[in-house]
C-alpha cells in the first residue's frame, strides 16, 4: 500500500511538473493598464502633477531591482518575490519519498531482535524477532544488575538494566539503560523492553551421616551434589502459597527412580533414596531478574529524520513563502496624471492585503494626496 502511495505521489508530482514549470517560467510583468485595474488588489490615485511621483519615489515603494516598461501613456514598474516557492511542493513531496526510502533501507538492511538476559550473565547473540534465528552481536553484552521500582500506587516507576559491553574479554563500555535511555554500540541499539523475575533457591540437604550441602538452584536447571551422587532441580516455583514460598523439587540421577517433592520455605522434609535418608529444606529464596532487551539496527533512521526535516522545510515554503507581484504605473490617464498600484499573491491573501494597504498609505503620504 505504501508502495502504491509512493508511485501515486511520484506520478502526480510528475504530472503536475509542466503546470508548475509554466507557472514559474511565465513572465507576467508586462500588463495593460486596464488589466491592472482588474487585479485582486488595486487602487488609483490622481496626482497633482505628472512630476510629483519621481523615479526615486518609485524606488522607495519598490526597492530595486525593478522591471520597467513603457505602457500606454506612462511607465510601468514591476516587482515580484517568492516566485521560487512554486517549487516548495517538490521539497515536500521529495521528502516524503525520502522518508519512505529510509523505511525501506531499514527494512532491508536493518535488524530487530530480542535478548532475555539474566543478571550476572553474558550474551553474544540476539534472537531475530520474526525468524527466531540467532544474530551475532560481534561483542559480548553483560547484565550486571536489573532494578525494578514501583510507586506506592503499584504503578511501575522505573526499569533499569546496568549493562557492560565486552570486546574480546575486555570491558569497553558501561551504561545503565532505562525505558527512554537506550544504549548504542557499533550500530546496534539496546532498549529496555521487559523483564522477568527468576528466583534463585537456596536448598540445604543433610544426609543421614551428617554431611551437609548447600545448593543454589535457579528454576529449571539441574544441579548435582557429586559426593552423594545426587542431582536436584526446581521444576516450579510458587512465590505465594499458604502465605509462603514453595518449590516443586525434582530429585534423581542416583540410580533410583526420580521423584518430585513440594517444599515450603523453612519447613524441613525427609526423603529416602534407596537406603539413604536425607533431610532437606529451602533455606532462602533470592529474587533474581532477567532483563528483556529489544535490539535494533536501523541504517535508514537518519534518512527518515532527514526526510522529516525536509518535509518541515517544505511546509515552511509552501505555507509562508508567497509569490507576490506588485505593479506600479505612473502616467497620464483620461488626461490626468495618475498613479495605479496593483498587486496579487498566490497565497496568504489577508496578509498581503495588509501589506498592500501599508503601501497605499505610504504612497498617499508621499504624494500628499489625502484620502
Amino acid at each position: 500500500m505504501l508502495l502504491l502511495f509512493a508511485v501515486n505521489l511520484v506520478a502526480c508530482t510528475i504530472n503536475r511538473f509542466p503546470i508548475i514549470s509554466q507557472l514559474y517560467k511565465k513572465d507576467t510583468s508586462l500588463q495593460a493598464v486596464e488589466r491592472l485595474l482588474k487585479m485582486p488588489h488595486s487602487f488609483v490615485l490622481s496626482l497633482p502633477s505628472a512630476a510629483s511621483f519621481s523615479k526615486e519615489d518609485v524606488n522607495k515603494i519598490l526597492p530595486a531591482p525593478v522591471l520597467s516598461y513603457d505602457v500606454e501613456n506612462g511607465r510601468l514598474f514591476f516587482k515580484e518575490s517568492g516566485k521560487w516557492s512554486y517549487w516548495g511542493v517538490y521539497i515536500l513531496h521529495t521528502s516524503i519519498l525520502i522518508i519512505l526510502a529510509g523505511a525501506l533501507i531499514g527494512a532491508i538492511w536493518g535488524f530487530k531482535g530480542q535478548i532475555m538476559l539474566a543478571e550476572g550473565e553474558k550474551v553474544s547473540e540476539a534472537v531475530e524477532r520474526f525468524t527466531g534465528k540467532d544474530f551475532p552481536l560481534g561483542f559480548e553484552l553483560y547484565c550486571e544488575k536489573f532494578f525494578v521500582d514501583f510507586y506506592d500506587t503499584g504503578a511501575p516507576k522505573e526499569f533499569r538494566s546496568d549493562l557492560v559491553i565486552f570486546e574480546s574479554g575486555k570491558e569497553v563500555l558501561r551504561k545503565s539503560i532505562r525505558v527512554n535511555e537506550p544504549l548504542s554500540y557499533h550500530g546496534l541499539t539496546f532498549y529496555q523492553s521487559s523483564y522477568d523475575a527468576m528466583p534463585l533457591i537456596t536448598f540445604t540437604i543433610t544426609s543421614a551421616d551428617g554431611k551437609k550441602k548447600v545448593l543454589s538452584l535457579p528454576v529449571s536447571e539441574k544441579i548435582s551434589w557429586q559426593e552423594a551422587g545426587l542431582s536436584v532441580g526446581v521444576m516450579q516455583f510458587l512465590p505465594n502459597i499458604h502465605g509462603g514460598q514453595a518449590a516443586h523439587v525434582w530429585i534423581g540421577d542416583d540410580g533410583f527412580p526420580p521423584e518430585a517433592i513440594w517444599f515450603l520455605k523453612g519447613a524441613e522434609k525427609e526423603f529416602r533414596r534407596g537406603n539413604n535418608i536425607y533431610k532437606a529444606s529451602i533455606t532462602d529464596v533470592e529474587q533474581r531478574y532477567m532483563t528483556g532487551l529489544q535490539v535494533k539496527k536501523d541504517p535508514g533512521v537518519w534518512v527518515v529524520w532527514f526526510g522529516c526535516a525536509g518535509m518541515l522545510l517544505g511546509f515552511g515554503v509552501v505555507f509562508w513563502v508567497a509569490h507576490r507581484r506588485i505593479w506600479l504605473w505612473v502616467g497620464e490617464r483620461n488626461g490626468r496624471p495618475t498613479l495605479i498600484l496593483a498587486g496579487r499573491t498566490n497565497k496568504n491573501n489577508m496578509q498581503f492585503e495588509r501589506f498592500f494597504d501599508e503601501m497605499e498609505q505610504k504612497i498617499r503620504t508621499m504624494t500628499g494626496v489625502k484620502i
Binding site: R16, V89, A103, K112, Y151, T153, A155, P156, K157, E158, F159, R178, V179, N180, P182, T189, Y191, Q192, S193, Q294, V295, K296, V301, V304, W305, C308, M311, L312, F315, F319, N348, N349, M350
Partner: protein, 281 residues
C-alpha cells in the same frame, strides 16, 4: 480552597461556558459591549486555566511525582481546551471578529466539562510510568494538540461557512466574516493544524525510536493519526490542485475533525495499543 488546581480548572469550565453565551448574545443581539465582555471572560478563563495547569504541575512535584500535566486523559482534555482558547484568542486579536468565538469557545468548554464531570475521566494526579519519562513528552503532546485545536477551530469555521451559504447583507449571518475571508481563514487554519500534526507525528516518531526502538509501529493511534493526516492532506490538495473552495472544503474540515475526535477518543476507548495512557479506566 480557591488555590488548588482542580478548583481552578472546574471553574474554568463555567467561565468558558459564560464566554460562549456572551459571544452568542453579542452576535444575536448585536451588542458590541457584550462581545467585549465575552473576550474579557475568555481572557479571565484562560488565565485561571493557565494558573490551574501550572498549579497542577507544582502539585505533582509536591506529591513527589514531578511531571508536566500532560500524562492522562484528564490532563490532555484540559490542555486541548487551553490550546483551543489560545488559538482562538490569537485569531480574535488578528481578525477583530468575535463571531468566531461563538463557534470556538464551546469546544473548549465542552472538553473541560467532559474532563471535570465524566465519571470515566479521573482527575487525580498520577505518577509517570517509565515509558512517559522523557523530554519528548512535552514536545509531542504540545505539537499534537496545537494541531487538534487548530482543527477544532477550522471545523467551527466550516460550520460557519455552511450556515452562511451566501453573503447576506442583513441579519444574523451578515455578521459572520465574508465567505471569501472565511474560506481563506479555514484554509490557513487547516494548513496550520496540518503543519503541527505533522510535527506532532514526527516528534512522536523520534520519541518512539528512543523508547521502543522503532519510529513507527502501526499502533492504532499512529494509524489513525496518519488517516487524519491524509484527510487534511486531501483537503489541502483539493484546493491547491483542483481549486476546491468554500463548501467542499468546509465539509472536509468537518470530516477531518471527526477523524481527529476518533484519533483522540475513539482509539482510546475502542482500540488498545501503545497509547493506552490516554484511556479512561
Amino acid at each position: 480552597m480557591i488555590f488548588t488546581s482542580s478548583y481552578l480548572l472546574s471553574l474554568t469550565t463555567f467561565i468558558y461556558l459564560g464566554a460562549a453565551v456572551l459571544y452568542l448574545i453579542a452576535w444575536v443581539f448585536r451588542v458590541e459591549k457584550v462581545g467585549l465582555l465575552g473576550t474579557f471572560a475568555t481572557g479571565i478563563g484562560f488565565l485561571a486555566q493557565t494558573a490551574g495547569i501550572l498549579l497542577r504541575w507544582v502539585e505533582s512535584y509536591q506529591m513527589g511525582y514531578g511531571h508536566a500535566p500532560l500524562s492522562n486523559l484528564y490532563e490532555s482534555l484540559v490542555f486541548f481546551s487551553w490550546m483551543t482558547i489560545l488559538v482562538y484568542l490569537f485569531l480574535e486579536f488578528r481578525l477583530k471578529n468575535r463571531v468566531i468565538g461563538v463557534f470556538s469557545t464551546p469546544f473548549a468548554s465542552l472538553a473541560m466539562a467532559y474532563a471535570s464531570f465524566s465519571p470515566n475521566v479521573h482527575d487525580e494526579i498520577q505518577p509517570l510510568i517509565p515509558a512517559l519519562k522523557s523530554n519528548w513528552l512535552i514536545a509531542h503532546v504540545v505539537t499534537c494538540f496545537l494541531g487538534y485545536s487548530s482543527f477544532a477551530i477550522a471545523c467551527g469555521m466550516g460550520l460557519m461557512y455552511l450556515m452562511k451559504s451566501k453573503d447576506y447583507t442583513t441579519g444574523l449571518l451578515s455578521r459572520l466574516p465574508s465567505q471569501k475571508n472565511l474560506d481563506e481563514l479555514m484554509h490557513q487554519t487547516i494548513f496550520f493544524g496540518f503543519l503541527w500534526l505533522s510535527v506532532g507525528i514526527i516528534t512522536g516518531a523520534v520519541w518512539a525510536n528512543e523508547a521502543w526502538g522503532t519510529y513507527w509501529s502501526w499502533d492504532p493511534k499512529e494509524t489513525w493519526s496518519l488517516i487524519t493526516w491524509f484527510v487534511y492532506a486531501i483537503a489541502l490538495h483539493a484546493r491547491f490542485v483542483r481549486g476546491w473552495m468554500g463548501k467542499k472544503i468546509a465539509y472536509l474540515s468537518i470530516i477531518g475533525f471527526i477523524s481527529v475526535i476518533f484519533t483522540y477518543f475513539g482509539v482510546n476507548f475502542l482500540l488498545s495499543g501503545l497509547h493506552s495512557y490516554g484511556a479512561p479506566r
